[in-house]
Amino acid sequence: MALLGICLPAFVFMVLAGIVYGQHSVRPWATAGLRGVAAAATGLLAATWFQIGKKSLKGVYDAVFVVAAILGITYFKVGVPLTLLVVGAFAIFAYRPHVKHEKPAEETEEWLRSLH
């Protein structure tokens, strides 16, 4: 019910927006207004991701993986699934658990014990 309460107003709003857009999108004033809306949405999205990045990115590795994902999408144009798969795999490997050679499976054993 809570999910429905969150999603239903947005759904109704977007359906109505679709009806209005379908009827008026060819009018010059509507297109002009939507160009303004799109420009502001770019600024809003940039601000959102700037704030998220500022809080969560730390160190050179993070910067490298951000740039690699951006290049995968915009420069190499390999698509989201492949970029996610390749850059994601490298990123997870780069942050792999520290392997202790004297006690190789200590962390894994501890985790396995916690399951019982």
Partner: protein, 173 residues
């Protein structure tokens, strides 16, 4: 109505790409909606996505507007369900599993690794979005003003978008 199966297929697929947020799926959404199925033009997709930023609730409910434009109310309903249901179920399942994996060493690796990748995907999507949305110096100014205002004030961002729309009606004709 003939487009309904394709809408379900495309938006179910897209839902699994929203790693870290809807913007991460935007490049693939553009490929599917504009290039492959030609449901909308590039500019129309940017307009619909922008309208979604003003919606009360999840911004990615903009998929319902795409469905509405392609196949009417049935299209809107199937797009919303196809987009939100799989990830909703997945999030619920993974959330429970994630708690059980509390002490699994790779859990932290996955979190640390996928964080920057999700940000990179979203910024990549934003660049593609911006290439269509930013077309002249007026749009540059509107984007910059919104960027500064959102970072420096606590005012509801939807108001900035509405104001930019009004400015657009007057100066972008």
């Amino acid at each position: 109505m003939a487009q309904i199966p394709a809408l379900i297929r495309v938006f179910t697929f897209l839902s699994f790409l929203t790693i870290g947020g809807g913007m991460a799926a935007f490049p693939e959404m553009k490929v599917q909606v504009v290039d492959v199925h030609r449901w909308l033009t590039n500019e129309q997709l940017v307009h619909v996505y922008s309208t979604g930023q003003m919606s009360p609730g999840p911004n990615m409910m903009m998929v319902a507007e795409i469905g509405q434009l392609v196949a009417g109310f049935a299209g809107a309903a199937v797009c919303a369900l196809a987009f939100f249901l799989p990830t909703g179920v997945l999030t619920f399942g993974v959330g429970r599993l994630w708690k059980r994996l509390d002490k699994w060493p790779w859990r932290s690796s996955i979190q640390k690794g996928l964080g920057p990748v999700a940000i990179g995907l979203a910024v990549g999507g934003l660049i593609i979005f911006g290439k269509t949305a930013i077309t002249n110096w007026i749009t540059v100014v509107l984007a910059l003003l919104t960027f500064i205002a959102v970072n420096r004030t606590k005012i509801n961002p939807a108001l900035f978008i509405l104001a930019a729309g009004a400015v657009g009606v007057v100066v972008l004709k």
